[in-house]
């Protein structure tokens, strides 16, 4: 059966879809700079938790390759979100927070910053694929590459660590 929407139904559907989309992005878009920094810190903490767990497998043989694949997929999703977590006005000089070490260079060289975020996206995708294969040495190598070329490529130029 061919379902046909009336014009008003279509308007309604479009409007509610837009509302849902709006609600989804709301936490980032409507957040104050301080809230964004907080969300960013929580997200990075999650990311760190995944990396820590993957290290447990890659370096110490804990957990499973399947778990690594799932976590690498989560990192991949977070990586895609990173640029939205660093809007202008949330740098270390604007939002004074003992743990906000986002350097002003991010917004002076946004292209380079995006490249670093993209690199994490690509590296984590590779890790997820490699983890699917189950080869432990390859997983360890891919994991270290996520750290160095993903996390590190951004933290090195754009982040200073203010506290332990």
């Amino acid at each position: 059966m061919n379902i046909r929407f009336s014009f008003s139904q279509k308007i309604l559907a479009t409007a509610s879809a837009a509302a849902v989309a709006g609600m989804l992005t709301l936490p980032v878009l409507a957040a104050t700079p301080a809230e964004t920094v907080k969300l960013r810190q929580e997200t990075m903490k999650q990311l760190g938790g995944h990396m820590k767990a993957i290290k447990g497998f890659a370096m110490e043989g804990q957990g499973s390759a399947e778990d690594v694949a799932v976590r690498a997929g989560e990192i991949n999703k977070i990586a895609a979100k990173i640029p939205t977590l660093l809007p202008e006005g949330t740098g270390m000089d604007e939002v004074k927070d003992p743990k906000n070490g986002a350097k002003p260079e991010i917004w002076l060289d946004w292209e380079k910053f995006l490249k670093a975020a993209n690199s994490l996206e690509a590296e984590s995708k590779t890790l997820a694929a490699v983890a699917g294969g189950g080869d432990k040495a390859a997983i360890a190598a891919a994991f270290q590459s996520v750290g160095k070329n993903g996390c590190g490529s951004c933290h090195k130029p754009f982040r200073i660590k203010l506290e332990k």
Partner: protein, 307 residues
């Protein structure tokens, strides 16, 4: 026929010996330069002597080091005779590292960490020298330091040296009782890597008003290190230092930059991991970890300088 062959052999023998000797010398030089390359990594020379941001040639100088006294510019240490150290002798080089004095006799600013390098082993200096001979010469001119008043007066450095510079030999110490028995042989190597070659204290130890390291707070962190950024306390205090890190945590961090929370190093330490600690042998990283864990724990919270 046989006699002619013997004659020929007799004639050629000294030549062959000379060639063998040359080959032996070349092999020795190569071995020295290979060992020197490792010393070069362990001593972290690349960072301050290469202008990566300005796409300068390796070791050709020009890297800006921001300090509370002004900006220092790392000099060219390639073998270029005019702008680098191509006209130096090994004796000049040794004096620069151990005494902090240029071949012309001028004292260096302690931004060049001769306060640490002074205790470098003789053979490490010779190997490093051999390695630096193999670097591509670059004719990059040295820029002048841009220092705040009155630090531009280099003669002040002489007074500073009288007050704070104690040259000397590295002395192997007694490993503290806290060090596990199987790790005691590593402790001295770790002390040498941390205190001398790696010159870790230059950033991780706080400095007094005149820029001298406060040895009583060795590695307890600095609110304003090089580049103006705070530098963490790496003594084994569990709350404010790295007391809650295991030896393996420290080794892993030094290898590829990940701390026990899954966070990755940034800023100056990422450079150190890329160019120095990441290039060391696992044994040397272990030695550093053993030494760090043996230090007196100092409770000292490091926060950013501007609050």
């Amino acid at each position: 026929m046989l006699r002619r062959g013997l004659l020929l052999a007799a004639l050629l023998a000294p030549l062959a010996a000379a060639t063998a000797q040359e080959a032996g010398q070349a092999a020795a030089d190569e071995a020295a330069s290979r060992r020197g390359e490792y010393v070069f990594h362990a001593a972290g020379c690349y960072g301050c002597h290469t202008d990566v941001k300005g796409k300068g040639a390796p070791l050709a100088g020009g890297r800006r080091l921001k300090t509370p006294f002004g900006d220092f510019l790392g000099p060219n240490i390639t073998p270029d005779p005019d702008h680098g150290i191509g006209s130096w002798t090994l004796a000049d080089f040794t004096r620069a590292l151990r005494e902090g004095v240029s071949p012309a006799g001028d004292p260096y600013y302690p931004a060049f960490p001769y306060t640490s390098f002074s205790r470098m082993a003789e053979e490490d200096i010779a190997d490093l020298w051999a390695y630096l001979q193999t670097v591509e010469p670059a004719d990059t001119e040295n820029g002048a330091h841009e220092l705040d008043f009155p630090f531009g007066w280099r003669w002040l450095t002489s007074i500073w040296r009288t007050l704070y510079f104690a040259p000397g030999e590295f002395e192997a110490g007694d490993p503290l009782a806290a060090v596990a028995k199987e790790d005691r042989d590593k402790w001295n190597r770790g002390a040498y890597l941390v205190r001398v070659l790696g010159h870790c204290g230059e950033c991780h130890t706080p400095r007094g008003g005149l820029g001298a390291m406060d040895e009583g707070l060795f590695l307890a962190g600095s609110k304003q290190g090089a580049e103006g950024a705070p530098v963490p306390n790496v003594t084994p205090d569990p709350a404010t230092g790295i007391g809650d890190w295991s030896l393996a945590d420290i080794e892993g961090y030094l290898k590829f930059g990940m701390d026990p929370d899954g966070d990755f190093a940034g800023g100056a330490m990422a450079e150190v991991i890329n160019h120095t600690t990441g290039k060391l042998t696992p044994e040397d990283r272990r030695a550093i970890a053993v030494f760090l864990k043996s230090l007196p724990a100092m409770e000292r919270k490091i926060t950013r300088p501007s609050g």
